[in-house]
Symmetry: C2
Subunit: 353 residues, 2 copies
DNA sequence: CGCTACCATGTTTACGCTGACATCGCGAAA
DNA sequence: TTTCGCGATGTCAGCGTAAACATGGTAGCG
């Protein structure tokens, strides 16, 4: 009379139904069930129907563990990412998810907390042990560190990282974006362009800064000192307070939209109008950027394409057998300049060209 | 002489090393290897050492498929979420990831594109087939639809959804947040508070609107017509343009920060100052909210806690055997009012109380 | 009419791991 | 000394699936 082992509950869910259960009910062998489950052609239509209805009755679902065990394939991709709360990473993740789903893969995601080598290493270990067929590493500045070994036996694709190109990667053309931003401001007649960079350990940030530097050089413009933020509006604000104090600052290129937002607020508080006194360009094109005050001129990244390409490359690697390292490919995705209201021609009097 | 079958490459990676390989190298049985791999106590230290070094030499990693097959446990949690690019979802996901990792679980994430029943159903099917021990569904307004069947055999926890409480859930106390926002504005002397709601199919949005309504009623304030946005700054802007045209609007509570941002821009363009002419409160407390112009008064959600609680509840369900449905628990997380510069006392002349 | 092909289906096996049980050896208690 | 017990290790089976191979029946062809 105790409450366990109540045979009354038809749902004596001791164990999910297996192929064998379906086979018994349908009066066929389990192999035939397997054939039906995998949509093989060589099954009598009538038999197939019988098996399918038995599946429905029992609520059969294939056991993916057993499946993976025999096939040696999991149909799971691992994703290692820092900080999904960062907009770009989240967007890329979403795109990867879409693409993976279309290809019949699901996603095992690990968000790495600390930007330390061990943390990434451990995430990779966890994923490979958790059985993935391939690995995508997002925002991989950490890969700079020489000790990191990603060669865990599964194919790897790196999104927006990998300066040493040790892995196939998908890469937003940071340089093109930063160049476009800088040129846009120079073309508006500003004598030079200041830059608020992202953190120094970010490969993307470094490349944006380098391209900014190169664009100024190429235009023969003086190169103002570079300040480093940490991607947050807070640090943009702090740096903005300093820049606002310098009257010779009339154009600033921020390494992302949040920095730009903080920057604008600081300029505003200091009484310097955007864009009349100072022009500001961001990077990313957050959905909100068009609604900042003023609407932000920025560089739009195509995260969707990055995600799609990551999955495509990874699947290609997985499908061609483990041999043929195959000219490791680097796919480049180019961002666009979106001009809004935070940039204007250089003020006549002050530092105009 | 063809290039396949090159025995020279020592890395004839035909098949990853198994317990048996390690056992052979270490001169023990595979069972002993298993014991070492699982950190069992009953192994001679010297033997353990020998096995460990054999593992290192071969680069052994347990095959999780085989493991899952025998154990019937995958140590994977499934997460179904709409739009990871939405800040709240991303934050919740990050928190879930952290909590899961601490508990030794990894995360199989599916981002559902369409908010249709079938899409969710399919995501759930994919996940359960992909072998998860439990399921977390984020932002589950869709669960309103009567046809949706989440009872797929694995425990489910719903984050911020489930009006009918059919599942254990973790729930931000939307009502408390919305009430706090409304009361804050009323306390500042505004005669009433307008509301820009989120989409009608969002359970969270509906509860915020209901609480706003109730708070006005309770205070004896008139209830202005409710406008629905879609969480984006764009729709906040559109609605803002309409509200800006009405001089009797002096206080607006927006259902999230993006709506508030668009709203502020519209008010600004219409020449109505925030907060001098109109006070605005948001919801979420995006990291950028403090840097909007003006810094936004808002309701801060504790996504971290929501994620943590989801995992805790799910693991509790998983661990207690599949019997004992156990008083399905609803955990509530309370958000806080964060007062910044977008709210001020009601303007004297106009609609002051 | 007899042989071959081929198709639907069944049987067997291996995948890698761990739980249950068996074995062996050694020290402690009687 | 004998016996018991316990700890270290080995043996074996089974998890659910799909590939490989086996079987048996039928249609087509000479």
């Amino acid at each position: 009379m105790d409450q366990s082992e109540t045979p009354g509950t038809a749902r004596g869910r001791s164990r999910p139904p297996s192929q064998a259960d379906v086979a018994a009910l349908a009066g066929v062998s389990s192999q035939t069930v397997s054939r039906v489950a995998n949509n093989r052609s060589n099954v009598e239509p009538e038999t197939r129907e019988r098996v399918l209805s038995a599946m429905r009755i029992l609520g059969y679902q294939r056991n993916s563990a057993a499946r993976a065990l025999t096939l040696g394939r999991f149909h799971v991709l691992g994703v290692v990412t820092f900080d999904v709360a960062a907009h770009g990473n989240a967007r890329t993740l979403a795109a990867i998810s879409r693409a993976a789903q279309r290809a019949g893969y699901s996603l095992n995601v690990v968000c790495v907390e600390d930007r330390t080598e061990e943390a990434v290493q451990q995430a990779v270990r966890q994923l490979t042990e958790q059985a993935v067929d391939g690995l995508i590493v997002i925002e991989a500045q950490i890969l700079d560190r020489p000790g990191l070994d990603l060669h865990s036996g599964v194919p790897v694709v790196v999104a927006d990282g990998d300066p040493e190109r040790r892995f196939p990667s998908v890469d937003t053309d940071q340089a093109a974006g930063a160049t476009a931003a800088t040129r846009h401001l120079l073309d508006l007649g500003h004598r030079t362009v200041w830059h608020v960079g992202g953190p120094q350990d970010s490969y993307a940030a470094r490349r944006r800064a380098a391209a900014w530097h190169a664009a100024l050089k190429a235009a023969g413009a003086p190169v103002p000192p570079l300040r480093y933020g940490d991607w947050t509006a807070a640090s943009g604000y702090e740096i903005g307070l300093e820049l606002a104090a310098r009257p010779d600052v009339t154009a600033v290129f921020a390494a992302n939209d949040q920095l730009a937002l903080g920057l604008v607020r600081a300029l505003h508080e200091a009484g310097r109008r955007v864009p009349q006194d100072v022009s500001v360009v961001g990077f990313d094109d957050l959905p909100e950027a068009a609604y900042y005050l003023p609407p932000l001129t920025t560089i739009r990244q195509d995260f969707e394409e990055v995600g799609r390409q990551c999955v495509a490359q990874l699947l290609a690697q997985i499908d061609r057998a483990s041999d043929t390292p195959a000219a490791e490919r680097i796919v480049t995705v180019t961002p666009d300049l979106v001009v809004r209201a935070s940039t204007a021609r250089a003020p006549e009097g002050s530092a105009g060209r």
